[in-house]
């Protein structure tokens, strides 16, 4: 665990207490079983907003606490432990980051206070295919007299059914895979021509496919520079990836601890199975990987807070290492629990399904390993 300030320790303890008491895994299970398209419990999200969790990275002048990404990561780690579903990541981190980094005063004024209050959900609409390739942008925004016309489809939009506003990457120039010619737009969900369809994914969260059918946008919908939106997009995504890595860390730590408890209680051959060295060494390997992954995740979040020059490398390092670690731990959770781990009544399956979805979100391990290498010139 990183060295925390007193305020950060208090925030972490508050998040730990709340998630354990108010939002244990059984709460997520209830949301899943209800089949509600939002994919989270709005009442629980309102409580989180009440505690200030939706304003952690938002400047004070826009109603936030400006507490930084490491602080928000502490909350996400705790929500990750209990698989608490909420738009904290998609909106209070990713959507808010795009607006903080690229927004005009008017755009900030229009959206940040509402995001900080938990009144609106702002989410990224970036991906267009089965794999995260943020430079692959076919959704087009053609210039009109009044502004732009937006057309095309985005998929795997987190909390897309709940969102009031989308941060959409669209092509205003250049080739379909080119970094030049990408621009970001703030598109209200109730704009004419916006339609969405819930994506029913294995992790039971609220993702959506969002279609833009000749959506008329004013010139003030442009977020950041025209054609040169790639840097803003990358910076936004890196913040989202680091935050997601913190959530994944929490899920992995909990999956490991639950498994460890099982190793200490399940008796076979007249002894607890945790006495078998074959299992002990696999547990030790998981523990080792979790320690290494934690260092990467905390370094990435700290680098963002410090505006360090190596944010990109550290974020890709964190997402790749954390992804591998969660992958391992979620598989071992099922395997070490044996038959009970295969049942829907047990939590192992919930962690396993969430693991794969989180790994794929904002780029999987192979995407980030490749990016890590390219950034270092090989």
């Amino acid at each position: 665990m990183a060295v925390l300030t007193e305020e950060q320790s208090m925030l972490r303890d508050a998040a730990r207490t709340w998630t354990r008491e108010k939002s244990p895994v059984s709460a997520f299970r209830k949301v899943r079983d209800s089949g509600a398209p939002l994919g989270y419990d709005p009442a629980a999200f309102a409580e989180m907003a009440e505690m200030g969790w939706t304003g952690v990275i938002i400047p004070e002048e826009y109603g936030g606490s400006d507490f930084g990404y490491l602080s928000l990561g502490l909350i996400l780690e705790e929500t990750g432990r209990t698989l608490t579903a909420s738009p904290i990541l998609s909106s209070a981190l990713a959507g808010a980051s795009a607006i903080i980094l690229g927004g005009t005063d008017a755009q900030k004024e229009a959206w940040l206070p509402k995001i900080a209050a938990g009144e609106v959900v702002a989410t990224l609409a970036i991906d267009e295919g089965a794999h995260h390739r943020p430079n692959h942008v076919a959704v087009s925004a053609s210039a009109t007299d009044a502004g732009y016309t937006l057309s095309g489809t985005k998929t795997f939009v987190l909390d897309g059914m709940a969102a009031s506003v989308f941060v959409v990457s669209a092509r205003t120039d250049g080739a379909v895979d080119g970094k030049f010619g990408i621009s970001l737009f703030l598109v209200p969900a109730d704009a004419k021509g916006v339609s969405r369809k819930a994506l029913k994914l294995a992790d039971s969260r609220g993702a959506a496919i969002v279609t833009f059918d000749n959506v008329a946008l004013g010139a003030d919908a442009l977020l950041g520079p025209q054609n040169e939106g790639w840097d803003l997009l990358e910076q936004t995504l890196d913040r989202a990836r680091a935050g997601l890595s913190a959530e994944m860390l929490g899920s992995a730590v909990q999956a490991f601890e639950t498994t460890l408890d099982y190793l200490k209680t399940r008796v076979q051959f007249g002894q607890v199975i945790g006495a078998f060295q074959a299992l002990q060494h696999r547990a030790a390997k998981m523990f080792t990987d979790l320690e290494l992954a934690r260092s990467c995740v905390e370094s990435a979040l700290t680098a963002i807070d410090n505006n360090a020059p190596d944010v990109k490398e550290l974020v890709s390092l964190a997402k790749a290492k954390m992804g591998d670690t969660l992958h391992l731990v979620s598989n071992e959770m099922v395997q070490m629990h044996g038959g009970i781990g295969m049942t829907d009544a047990h939590d192992a399956g919930l962690y396993l399904k969430r693991a794969r979805a989180a790994e794929a979100t904002y780029g999987g391990q192979s995407f980030h390993r490749d990016r890590f290498a390219r950034l270092q010139g090989y």
């Binding site: 523990f287 390993r369 270092q376």
Partner: protein
């Protein structure tokens, strides 16, 4: 020296810079890695002068107490000193087992007389120490050691054999685990200091797969040891040994940065680009190798960040620091992977045993690769480390509980 607090760190830095520029011989710049050849101290006069300067200053062991000749620096100052040394290519000539393992342990468990006698020569690199722990029948199961130590009234009488005694052939002293009670396993072990020039001590170097002989067999035949050379209580050696092994493991894990004996410093990706070439967009021109290089560099970076985190946590005393327990396995994996990748990247040039058709660093890569296989065996094998994590950190049952007591 003044007691530099946080605000005075820059003052200390300036002093360190001045002192280094006055004392560090330019001819030794950046040669730190080259000195690791079986522990032989070069007779080079610049090297000797540098040893003397660092020894007198106590900066080879910057955080050890001044009372015993150490630098007396805070950890922040020691870090600043290291940074200043790195900046000018300076390196500490004071090393070995005395610095890495025995000194810190003696400072903790030795009596005042023992510290006054044995610490200053380590600080000044005047005496070399070796470690008499393993025996032919006591490797991973170290506590089953049998070297016998009998109380003869005015002296101890030691008989037995040690193995894997690093640098015993050059050592002046040996810190040794001996059996003082055959009726108890762990509580029958004591920690004894033996002068290697005592009659009855004999060393035989063991030739390893790397062609080097960094380890010896050491035989003790009716060796008389003064009573005052017992460290800690009679039968209390196991506790001291465990502490010493922690120092050893944290030191060994440090190899994770590069791996000893590997003269190719810098990122392994650069070596791969140089030997394997790049494709049209600058990637290593072998996708399979590239993906393994990436994985390695991710592991290396994760290890480095964990070492930094562990240090920061230790400094802040923010609670139990569990990260340290994983450092040996994580670090040795990185170091061994680096050796393997280096060899693979060099191709046929990475198979040379000797001769002038190979560059010195190519030959060193082969020897380093072979020598590196020991990383996961010595200082508690990788398997023993996993046992320790399972038992002490994860609180899983000890499968050997029945045989250990």
């Amino acid at each position: 020296m003044a007691d530099f607090g946080g605000d005075d760190l820059e003052t200390f830095r300036a002093e360190a810079r001045d002192w280094l520029s006055a004392n560090f011989p330019a001819s030794l710049k950046g040669k730190g890695a080259m000195m690791y050849n079986e522990g032989v101290t070069p007779s080079n006069p610049d090297f000797k002068a540098w040893v003397k300067a660092m020894g007198d200053k106590g900066w080879g062991v910057p955080t050890w107490p001044k009372a015993y000749g150490g630098g007396g620096l805070s950890t922040a100052q020691a870090r600043a000193l290291q940074q200043e040394m790195n900046a000018v290519g300076a390196w500490s000539p004071i090393g070995g087992m005395g610095v890495m393992m025995f000194g810190p342990t003696l400072l903790e468990y030795g009596n005042e007389e023992q510290k006054q006698r044995h610490i200053p020569p380590i600080v000044r690199a005047e005496l070399r120490w070796c470690q008499g722990f393993s025996e032919p029948g006591a490797g991973s199961d170290l506590a089953s050691l049998q070297t016998k130590c009998e109380d003869k009234g005015d002296h101890w009488l030691v008989n037995g054999q040690k193995i894997w005694t690093s640098g015993a052939q050059w050592a002046d002293w040996c810190f040794c685990l001996v059996r003082t009670d055959t009726t108890k396993k762990h509580e029958g072990i004591s920690f004894l200091l033996i002068d290697m020039r005592t009659p009855g001590v004999e060393t035989r170097p063991i030739r390893l797969i790397s062609g080097n002989s960094p380890f010896c067999e050491t035989f003790f035949t009716d060796v008389r040891v003064p009573k005052e050379n017992l460290v800690g209580p009679l039968g209390g050696g196991w506790t001291i040994a465990k502490r010493l092994l922690q120092h050893e493991r944290s030191g060994l894990a440090g190899g994770g940065g590069g791996g000893r004996g590997n003269l190719f410093t810098g990122p392994i990706s650069e070596l791969a680009k140089a030997y394997v070439g790049v494709d049209t967009v600058g990637r290593i021109d072998d996708p399979d190798l590239r993906s393994r290089v990436i994985q390695h560099e991710i592991d290396a970076k994760a290890f480095q960040l964990t070492a930094m985190r562990s240090m920061a946590e230790a400094k802040s005393n923010s609670g139990p620091n569990t990260a340290t327990s994983i450092m040996k396995n994580a670090g040795t994996k990185v170091a061994q992977d680096r050796h393997e990748l280096t060899l693979e990247i060099l191709g046929a040039q990475g198979l040379g045993w000797e001769g002038d058709t190979f560059k010195a660093e190519e030959l060193a890569a082969v020897r380093g690769w072979l020598g590196g296989k020991a990383y996961t065996i010595y200082g508690g094998s990788a398997e023993i480390q996993n046992n320790i994590i399972s038992k002490r950190i994860l609180d899983l049952p000890d499968p050997l509980a029945a045989t250990n007591h």
